[in-house]
Symmetry: C2
Subunit: 372 residues, 2 copies
């Protein structure tokens, strides 16, 4: 049992790792992640820096400005969580809600379900937070935001919006719309790799968070630490909290730079125009859109009623195999009912729409159709 004398390894080097590493190119037209353009992947391959080096801190400051622009907010408490959108969801809920408090959640798809799943672990009795998904990628619905913040504040409730699937592709104005916490992911319209999640907190949210009676359950997501790490707390020195995904931040910086160069309004218009062109093409083919109200359609992720008589998995599989294109089935409540097509950021072009329409037509021709 004295392992200093253990000289032999009981687990040998795995053969699978001794093979060369290759990754195919694929069109990612599902609900995300989307394709990463060379400028963003090249940025992520730049030399590593320390997580608190002056240059890294400058990159983080630029990211903050980029998020403030993308979110249309002047909140000082703006940063990127070192994890996927789900980590930002927990960051929002963990910091805001104390045990014994309750949360109101608009469940109109899987994202509301998941927020409920997170909140019920810590909160039971009193409503302090209202959660709404801006772009519900499971159903393809874009939820209106206007007026809700005002209503929430009337009842001393914070307004939390998940815009993972919509941000950059549909208008949102954090400050003007009275949103207290807003977050998104890096791998959708922003076209960066998954692993960073922009988030911002209003003064009202900060007031609640920094007057908690108990510590948030998570240290990793504790806003007091994150605020200092991201230089949002006005303190002169940034302490070491955790090591952020440094090269992920390089990529996020570039993706926000591309959005700033393009202009938010141009990006919103591009997604709207391309989505409408796509929807027209689908209807011409005889396919039905799952969301009938045009205004309620999410411009980033389109849900198509699963073509009757077909097995949806056969369609997505056929398109992947023969066209090298990912499109996806439903998720959660929409499973089996829809096909989902995401056209986000650099993927949102009419040329891509034409590719998808052709692939769908080909699939409907070749996939097995039941006679029922």
């Amino acid at each position: 049992l004295h392992c200093t004398s253990m000289s032999s390894l009981s687990v040998p080097p795995p053969q699978c790792l001794l093979q060369p590493f290759t990754v195919p190119h694929r069109y990612l037209f599902g609900p995300g992640p989307s394709n990463v353009p060379p400028r963003i992947s090249t940025a992520g391959a730049q030399p590593m820096l320390g997580h608190l080096h002056a240059e890294t801190i400058e990159i983080m400051d630029h990211i903050k400005s980029g998020i403030q622009y993308a979110f249309q907010t002047q909140n000082r408490m703006t940063l990127a969580v070192s994890g996927p959108g789900h980590a930002a969801m927990e960051c929002a809920i963990f910091n805001t809600v104390e045990s014994g408090e309750s949360v109101l959640i608009a469940v109109h798809g899987i994202w509301g379900e998941r927020a409920a799943e997170m909140a019920e672990r810590i909160a039971k009795y009193k409503p302090v937070l209202f959660f709404l998904t801006h772009g519900e990628s499971s159903t393809g619905v874009l939820h209106p935001i206007d007026g809700i913040g005002e209503l929430c504040h009337k009842y001393d409730c914070l307004f939390l919006v998940d815009s993972v699937a919509a941000l950059g592709g549909a208008p949102i104005y954090m400050d003007k719309q009275g949103i207290d916490i807003l977050y998104t992911g890096s791998q959708k319209v922003l076209n960066a790799p998954p692993g960073t999640a922009p988030i911002s907190f209003s003064e009202r949210a900060c007031h609640k968070i920094f007057n908690r009676k108990t510590k948030p359950v998570s240290y990793f997501l504790d806003l007091s630490w994150l605020a200092n790490y991201w230089g949002c707390d006005g303190k002169p020195v940034r302490s070491y909290h955790h090591t952020g995904p440094i090269t992920g931040l390089y990529s996020l910086r570039e993706s926000l730079a591309i959005l700033a160069e393009t202009g938010l309004e141009n990006s919103w218009k591009q997604h709207k125009d391309v989505a409408e062109y796509f929807h027209m093409g689908l209807e011409k083919m005889g396919l039905k859109l799952f969301v009938q109200d045009k205004k309620a359609r999410l411009p980033t992720v389109t849900t198509i009623v699963a073509p009757p008589g077909y097995e949806w998995r056969e369609i997505t599989g056929y398109i992947m195999k023969n066209h090298n294109i990912e499109i996806s089935g439903g998720l959660g409540p929409s499973l089996g009912m829809v096909l989902r097509v995401g056209l986000m950021g650099c993927n949102s072009t009419k040329a891509h729409v034409d590719m998808i329409l052709q692939a769908l037509a080909d699939a409907l021709k070749h996939c097995h159709k039941s006679k029922v």
Copy 2:
């Protein structure tokens, strides 16, 4: 207040993002992150794939095998957390400990302090877990592991080891040493970017975790979900839990491949030899090692007694400015007492030692020395 008619943006595109993005090259000889070799950064710049595509799942399976080799374990419950080492720490503690239970933590540096900080948020009364840091990077101490697992199990306590700063650079045998949970980071000896954290759970740990009375506080880090996402639960279908850091997984795959090609024992010997060569050189210069017992010295991160009469910040600043090399001061309990030099993975070479010794000699010559 009706924002559908808001046509103007109140936050303009930030000028800082319109500048070109550049990152300097720097020798990262602090306690981490370490430099990323081209093979690993190139892997991370490969085309994006979907998080549940067959190729991604195969990459995840290869990563599991690579972690099993690096940890010397046959645990089925082996995966990488989608976050930094701190997320793995919380994954270990959140899943294992229920409210009302208590945790025993060996505090011999900052990592023990942080684990205590995390555990006290959820646990109060009964010891079910013993936490030990294998390589305490704040003090430069390598803690012996032998015999502790046996002792823990005698008292029906799980044995949790943090090997973020040591894994791959110092021997550890998860199965033979009776370790129930072991985790590390990607950005130390493995030389991958930060953002993924290998972790493994023994059968004993899984038994405790999957017989909890309450859900873990975190959904993002809930092992029942992670086990399914990583194909560790034997179920035929992997559900969507969260979007993993796909390109981060590419890099992690390559870093584990390099370790498998090098061989664990060669890697351990390399770090030991280079550290000893470094320590000899330091002593020749008249510098003192902070850890006097040679056997207790961490081969990946060396702590040097802060040279008397100097301001340590002036030394690290001088070396960064004039030699483009990062070395670091103390952290937590060792702040102000030591200089810390990390030589991990591809950075662990005698040529780098010579560079550092030269830089240190130069700094001691040029930095201000008080006469006291």
